[in-house]
Symmetry: C2
Subunit: 269 residues, 2 copies
């Protein structure tokens, strides 16, 4: 692991690091915020949305203030492998910047697009080796495509994350053009990576907080109605908040960041 | 209006009163909590569930502590007309104690079971004449059948209630045996009094908070999944919380009473 930058931030450190990932076969860059007393701190994984790198949430979501207060580390992974040798697509919602947090099995995507394995194995190994954090206290969150990542990984890896939250998550990708084309291209089976489907099929959701704006310009791509019904049908312990007037931007994410940090903090203790 | 009892309570007064209602053609009893400084206080209407009278929530929900703190009056109406001359049914979920907050049009129910008119006209007239409260700041809540009442009245009377909340509400009575038989018998048309249907058909919901327990023994009668999907589909500003391990009892209601009072308080100011 190589340090690209470290900045003092709310009494802690906001760092950016790079490491070689076996999963993706590439170097991967990630951000990590360490609170003022990092030793033994719990870890929140923040998965970003389409077109984002490790950097967007790190600079625009404003989570470090609350993470410093509650003594939580936050890791901001990239959203896909990158590089000249990595396949891409002209569309903003496919290829580099659009990994959808799954392990690709199809065509040229299969070699590098192993984002599920990266987020659940390679990156945690690197992070827990580099920093003295508490691997028994992990939580996961994300925005948009990253919300899809947070929900599906929480459902696929029971017991790993104490809580899950999401900002405007893609909840039913197998019924959305934010999900179906990409997951089909990557894996051939969108349903296997659809949070609503996984939940209805019996996967256990840890305590869950979702915020989605009623003025979200991509609302119809998110599948919030199917997800909401599935939460109720499965009696999952969850809070869904439809936030009046908020859109899909980081201004929305930042507005509810404190609530999400407090929510995860509650389950860390 | 006649005073049946008044007790000092959290610095305010918990009263029980009776008045003759034109709507029901009977005397009706209700509870009213007045906070320590009642003049100009906003009013929260609390509608109770099947089998309840004005008394259950008044003695078991523990709302007065928070109402005193926030300076809110709470009115606890009865759930139906009562008396030897009022029709009844042997079932606990039909007739006296089970008015479903609608105006009956069918058969022998039509004469007395005018609970919608009672809650929205007769009772407010009596309350605002008797107490110096702020009619421009009203909110409504309820439990179970009373949650159905709160949601449907909030949807049917736009602009009247600044906010609505409910504890384990019946959300889709037209698809439940807690609703379909009763609303059919009373009005012939359950769909016209179904919160989910009203919302999907375009009624505007004020800011809304719902709590329902995941261990609610009547969960399948509530229609929470249909309601949750409708909230999202209509992009209603709402929070739905599925509370792990809570059941349908007043212990559940009491556990989240402070949150509901704070929620309404936010919209009163």
């Amino acid at each position: 692991m190589k340090t690209l930058s470290e900045n003092r931030c709310f009494g802690g450190i906001q760092g950016v690091y790079t490491h070689a990932s076996d999963a993706t076969g590439t170097d991967m860059t990630f951000g990590a915020f360490l609170p003022p007393k990092p030793s033994g701190a719990p870890v929140l994984w923040y998965l970003s949305g389409l077109t984002c790198t490790h950097e967007n949430a790190m600079t625009k979501a404003g989570l470090q203030a609350w993470a410093a207060q509650s003594g939580t580390a936050i890791v901001f992974p990239d959203t896909s492998p990158r590089g000249a040798e990595v396949p891409d697509d002209d569309a903003y919602d496919m290829g580099q910047g659009a990994g959808f947090y799954v392990d690709a099995t199809q065509g040229s995507w299969a070699q590098h697009f192993q984002m599920e394995h990266y987020i659940t194995a390679d990156l945690p190994e690197t992070v827990f080796a580099a920093f003295d954090l508490d691997a028994t206290r992990q939580a996961i969150t994300g925005h948009s495509m990253g919300g899809h990542g947070a929900l599906t990984l929480a459902l696929k890896y029971p017991g790993r994350y104490r809580s899950v939250s999401a900002f405007a998550p893609i909840c039913a990708p197998a019924a959305s053009d934010w999900g179906t084309p990409q997951l089909t291209a990557y894996t051939g089976d969108p349903g296997a990576h659809d949070a609503t489907r996984l939940l209805i099929d019996g996967a256990i959701l840890p305590p869950c907080l979702i915020d989605t704006g009623t003025s979200d310009q991509f609302f119809d791509k998110l599948g919030t109605d199917a997800w909401a019904a599935a939460l109720a049908r499965t009696r999952s312990a969850a809070t869904l908040r439809l936030q009046a007037g908020y859109d899909h931007s980081y201004f929305f994410v930042a507005s509810f960041g404190a609530d999400h940090m407090a929510f995860h903090q509650e389950h860390f203790t």
